[in-house]
Structures are given as structure tokens and as C-alpha cells.
């Protein structure tokens, strides 16, 4: 367990925690993008260059921006007013989350004995990934393409103003 690993882990976890705890939603969005960046770095440490950059491109470049837009469009940018940021059932939620973590951790540690200690870094070039995508995984690729297209259209339709026909429907 190198130093880099712990540093990046600390960054990521800190980002995640901040994302779920901060009051201001925009801060949460920024924090979560920090967490995304940390995850990307973890991918890089795992010699998964492609996945790492894809992670940055998709999550920081697109998802974070989307979230921010959604926040601004729903007028949530300023810190919420009455009632605090946590739902009424926050305690139960916390307990459940803790339980999940406990179980997962238990599982990992229980299985930790059989895990390989070190493995040589697999020399995987982007070319191989491309070939795999175009060869063995071409069907999933097509399906994902379809999914993305339909999601694009669906998102537009869902978010479209219902009263478009009445002169753009500017209220």
C-alpha cells in the first residue's frame, strides 16, 4: 500500500463525505467532482488509463456539470431554509448505511486471505481495448449506443416544458 494510494484515497473519501454532508448543494456538487477526480486517479493507479480518463471526461466534464445545472435550474443554489438538509429519517438511513459498510467490509476481510498479494501490471494498450470493443463486445457496445441515444431523447422530452405549443411557453 503505497503512499500515493493512501493520499488519493483520503482525497476521494474526503470528497465523498463532503458531498453528502455539506449544506450548500453547489458545494456538494464540487465536492463530489473532487471525489470523481480521486476515483479517476485510483483507476490510473490500477493501470486503467483509459477508464481513468473516461471517468474524468464523463463525470467531471459532463455529470458534474449536469448536476450543477440541475441545481441552478431548480433554485437550490442557496443554502436551504427551514428544516435542515437531512430528511426526517436520517438516523435510520445512517444506521442502514453503516450496516452495509460493515457487511461489505466483513465480506472483504473474510475473503482477504485468498486474495493475491501482488500482480504484474497487465500491459493493456488502448488499441486492445478498442479491438475488444469492436470485436467481442460489439453487441453490448451497440446496445449502449442505443441506450445513450434513447436516454438523450428521453431526457430532452422529460425536461421539455409541457406547454411548448403556447408560444414557447415563457411564464
Amino acid at each position: 500500500m503505497s503512499f500515493a494510494f493512501w493520499a488519493v484515497t483520503a482525497l476521494t473519501v474526503a470528497g465523498g463525505l463532503a458531498a453528502v454532508t455539506l449544506k450548500n448543494l453547489v458545494h456538494c456538487a464540487l465536492a463530489v467532482s473532487v471525489a470523481f477526480a480521486g476515483l479517476a486517479m485510483l483507476f490510473l493507479q490500477l493501470d486503467a488509463q483509459f477508464a481513468g480518463f473516461a471517468q474524468i471526461l464523463v463525470y467531471i466534464g459532463a455529470v458534474a456539470i449536469l448536476v450543477v445545472f440541475a441545481i441552478l435550474l431548480t433554485r437550490n443554489a442557496d443554502t436551504p431554509k427551514e428544516g435542515g438538509v437531512f430528511s426526517r429519517t436520517w438516523l435510520a438511513g445512517l444506521v442502514v448505511a453503516a450496516a452495509v459498510f460493515a457487511v461489505l467490509g466483513w465480506a472483504v476481510l473474510a475473503g482477504a486471505k485468498g486474495l493475491p498479494n501482488e500482480a504484474a501490471a497487465p500491459a493493456v494498450t488502448v488499441q486492445q481495448i478498442g479491438q475488444a470493443l469492436m470485436g467481442r463486445y460489439v453487441l453490448p457496445l451497440e446496445i449502449v449506443a442505443l441506450l445513450l441515444t434513447s436516454a438523450l431523447i428521453g431526457a430532452v422530452i422529460v425536461a421539455m416544458h409541457e406547454a411548448v405549443n403556447e408560444k414557447g411557453g415563457a411564464k
Partner: protein
């Protein structure tokens, strides 16, 4: 501790954090953020298994992660669109007030 276990633990922690966020926050967008975190934790697991698994050259875990990233993007787009629409209707994104689906 073997590196794989380390990565798995980190993933578990992130997953739990995301779940906590999804479970405890009032705001729908925050719930979405939490879910994104959970997805990412899952991706980390996949990549880690790919890296330390017996057949890294098969690229299975990697592919899985890449596809799930793509799917996550779609999910975010649609989810946020839904949130915006809900906000238009209910004028709120507070989940505690969105309980019209009561049976």
C-alpha cells in the same frame, strides 16, 4: 493487507458514503449524487478485480467499468431531467414532501 483488499475496502467505504447520502439527504439531487458515488464505487471494484484478477488480458472488468460509466451518464441525464420536471410540478425537490405515491 493485500492491495486488492485495500481497494475493495475503499470501494466499500465510498459505497456506504454514497448510500448514506442517498438515504439521509432531503434533496433529490443529492440522492442522485449519492447514487453516482455508489456506481463509482462499483466501478472501482470492477477495475480492481480486473487488475488483480487471474485474467487481466480478458479485459472483462475493464469493459464492464467502461460500459457502466456510459450507463451512468445516461442515468444521470434522465434522473436530473426527472428532477427538473418534478420541480416544475411540485415546486420542490424535497423528498419528504414528495410522497404522493402513497398506496
Amino acid at each position: 493487507m493485500s492491495p486488492l483488499a485495500g481497494y475493495l475496502l475503499v470501494a466499500a467505504l465510498l459505497f456506504a458514503i454514497g448510500l448514506a447520502g442517498a438515504l439521509t439527504r432531503r434533496n433529490a439531487i443529492l440522492v442522485l449524487i449519492g447514487i453516482e458515488l455508489m456506481l463509482n464505487a462499483a466501478n472501482l471494484n470492477l477495475i480492481a478485480f480486473w487488475r488483480y484478477g487471474p485474467h487481466p488480458e480478458a479485459l472483462t472488468g475493464m469493459m464492464f467499468a467502461i460500459f457502466s460509466i456510459a450507463v451512468a451518464a445516461a442515468e444521470a441525464a434522465v434522473g436530473l431531467g426527472l428532477v427538473i420536471q418534478v420541480h416544475r410540478h411540485a415546486k420542490t425537490t424535497d423528498l419528504d414532501q414528495m410522497n404522493r405515491m402513497k398506496g
